[in-house]
Symmetry: C2
Subunit: 226 residues, 2 copies
């Protein structure tokens, strides 16, 4: 009980003061370099040279911290000026940017599922997406609803990609494993799966993601015509 510990970290020279922003920054850094699982209150606090209790002054609880992390990441997406002639391409760019931003923070996408954009920062993105769809001639009703569904597909895809990477599977391995599983199926019980095994395992994650977006946009366009 001597003075070995030198009276806490208090007498250290400077130590930048705590703040909600600094906490979110630290949490995102941990998430980038490891995983969302590693973002524990203790770990974030340690990164800021303090104890977990200190965080609760600036952050209500862990859930809110995760939401703020997501908000920061989603809000940082760049929104180029709308060019109606290439609106579809621009939708693809937008969702790809979103996907990339989430993939850069393994596990964070799972926070987005079921937590639709609600902050001003993410509303900005939603507004932009809506503008793009309207520019493409999609009816207001369809465009408005699509503003829910396109992010839903994007986040769900990001989660899937996360899960694979976090289990240490490289893309090629996963494909091989699934291919094996499918070809090992009894053809008489699963006639269609086995017959089209090649198509089922073809393409990488990105191709399939943009296919999903593309088909959905096709549907929106077709709907506008009919």
């Amino acid at each position: 009980m001597a003075t070995t510990r030198s009276r806490s970290t208090r007498d250290r020279p400077a130590k930048s003061p705590l703040s909600a922003e600094a906490i979110v920054d630290a949490a995102l850094a941990i998430c980038r370099e490891e995983t969302l699982d590693a973002v524990t209150m203790r770990r974030v606090a340690a990164e800021l040279d303090t104890g977990p209790a200190s965080l609760y002054v600036y952050v209500q609880n862990r859930e809110e911290l995760l939401r703020q992390m997501l908000d920061r990441v989603s809000g940082a997406i760049e929104l180029p000026r709308v060019e109606p002639a290439r609106w579809r391409e621009q939708v693809h760019e937008l969702v790809r940017g979103w996907l990339r931003a989430m993939e850069a923070h393994p596990g964070l996408a799972s926070v987005a599922v079921g937590n639709p954009p609600a902050s001003e920062r993410t509303m900005r993105v939603a507004d932009h997406l809506l503008e793009l769809l309207l520019a493409g001639g999609v009816t207001p009703h369809d465009a408005a609803w699509a503003c829910d569904i396109l992010p839903l597909i994007t986040t769900a895809t990001a989660v899937e990609s996360d899960v694979h990477r976090m289990h240490g599977h490289v893309e090629a391995e996963t494909v091989a494993r699934i291919e094996d599983a499918i070809t090992a199926l009894a053809p008489e019980r699963f006639p269609h799966l086995t017959r089209y095994a090649a198509e089922l395992v073809s393409g990488d994650g990105d191709e399939r993601f943009h296919f999903a977006i593309d088909v959905f946009l096709d549907g929106l366009v077709a709907r506008g015509r009919g």
Copy 2:
């Protein structure tokens, strides 16, 4: 330290033996009546009149238990005979059944995100979905890829629905809250969101879900033609 506890639960008369099936059953029962969060190893064990350690003989760990729960639920979906004339309707019925099954077990849907069907039981469903799409004239390539995307949309929707319900929000409340949030936005910063606020908040979860599926199927059909 007396003999009050009567030498453990061992001397009880019968007590049905433990098994993987019984464990999954108990876990699903808890999930139905409460939430997936309530499905802890201790809680499941208590439901079976035993301790948490006993479960690990039949279940590798909690994650595997959750996957088995999902497998059981997804595998129980009924698959009516394919009628090519009403294939679209049948796709809707299939995904609705899936959605309902997951909604009956709050929180379970989140297990499905990123854990695509891999067991025989769920492959059955995938095979059926593929058959439906092929019957509708969708090309094998598109149909195969759609077998990934339609479940993805379904599970993501289920998660969203879960999150709302688990936070205690009734649908009407959620809508009101979002509507408030949108109409409170500055029209000059979010011109499109504020302009189409009515469309953005219209419809309930089911309508929007089937809209998403419908648009996607429209896209698949349009693609087959073009």
